[in-house]
């Protein structure tokens, strides 16, 4: 008879502990923190470039851009006018974790910011498991992907609070069905806020900006 010792511990308890510390730190400064997730190439960096351009006059923003290799995304965000930008090069890891965010935040002056974006590594699987201390996850999908993606990656769509359907200017060049993707996503998560955008034409971006402004106002209230 072997002895069974009850442990009852979360595997990612150390990550969750650090994420909790980040959340307290951001909450104390009333910073809205969004964790942007998607497949590679859906347009996370483009959406952030546009958002920096549109909001930098009125919203103080910090951005953390994660990539497996290169600092290309962080450099794009700086060129777009981002003043507080930190790259995280994971060197192979398929997701960001709370320890990386703690380190990046230590290198950013976040005393007077309203909004923090974390651009996660392009991957719809692994980043779902790692809490980064964000207020919410925002998942992007583009019209050049399959409209069944929410069904294929349910965990990510379930854990996200908003879904941005990007590249709507390319509708018609693929079989992507806007109604179908909405239906699929809402079956997984009935409370998703859904935006339809094109970072190339600017279509739909105003409602995305309005939503961000409302989040910031709610945090300050």
């Amino acid at each position: 008879m072997t002895d069974r010792i009850a442990i009852e511990k979360k595997v990612l308890s150390e990550n969750d502990r650090l994420a909790g510390e980040i959340r307290v730190q951001l909450q104390a400064r009333r910073i809205v923190a969004l964790n942007l997730v998607s497949s590679p190439g859906s347009g996370k960096t483009s959406l952030l470039e546009k958002t920096i351009g549109a909001l930098s006059g009125s919203v103080r923003m910090a951005l953390i851009a994660g990539d497996v290799q290169t600092e290309n995304d962080a450099n794009r965000l700086k060129r777009a006018g981002g003043k507080l930008v930190r790259p995280i090069v994971t060197g192979g890891a398929c997701h960001l974790d709370a320890k990386m965010i703690t380190r990046a935040l230590g290198e950013l002056d976040i005393e007077n910011i309203d909004l923090l974006f974390v651009e996660n590594v392009g991957n719809l699987v692994c980043p779902a498991s790692y809490d980064l201390g964000e207020d919410m996850k925002v998942v992007l999908i583009s019209t050049t992907e399959g409209d069944d993606k929410p069904l294929k990656y349910p965990s990510m769509f379930r854990r996200s609070s908003a879904m941005v359907i990007n590249k709507i200017d390319l509708m018609g060049f693929s079989d992507f069905d806007l109604m179908q993707v909405r239906r699929n996503a809402l079956m997984i998560n009935g409370n998703l806020n859904i935006f339809e955008t094109s970072c190339r034409t600017g279509a739909g971006l105003d409602s995305w900006y309005d939503w961000l402004r409302r989040l910031i106002a709610a945090k300050r209230a």
């Binding site: 072997t2 069974r4 010792i5 442990i7 997701h95 498991s129 349910p154 079956m187 998560n189 009935g190």
Partner: protein, 113 residues
């Protein structure tokens, strides 16, 4: 392939538990894994077994209990299993619900050798 990172977190936790309990070897690590965690048990086993070679955990195996996803409807209060991750209440068809099971990624027990 975050199973490797997860395997590494398991090794860290189990090593600490062994130290604090004065165990020198271990036979089995019992895990509880919810279906919403995207963790592939086979990849996790492979990562774990590769990682523990030449450590005090060498030779130990993972016993994985997989938990299906369950939710409770906020509208009518029904508890239901979300088959294929479809979170629509089978009673009132509302999509407003809360996950009650399926997000677990826990070490449940250790079995000494």
């Amino acid at each position: 392939m975050h199973e490797l990172s997860i395997a590494s977190s398991i090794v860290e936790t189990v090593t600490a538990e062994m130290l604090s309990r004065g165990l020198t070897s271990i036979g089995k690590v019992g895990l509880r894994i919810g279906a919403l965690t995207n963790v592939d048990p086979e990849a996790l086993r492979f990562g774990y077994e590769t990682m523990v070679v030449d450590t005090p955990l060498a030779g130990s195996t993972l016993e994985i209990e997989s938990l299906p996803v369950k939710a409770i409807c906020r509208k009518c209060g029904l508890s239901f299993e979300a088959h294929d991750f479809i979170f629509i209440c089978p009673n009132c068809e509302s999509g407003d619900n809360e996950v009650t099971q399926g997000q677990e990624l826990e070490i449940a027990f250790l079995e000494a050798d």
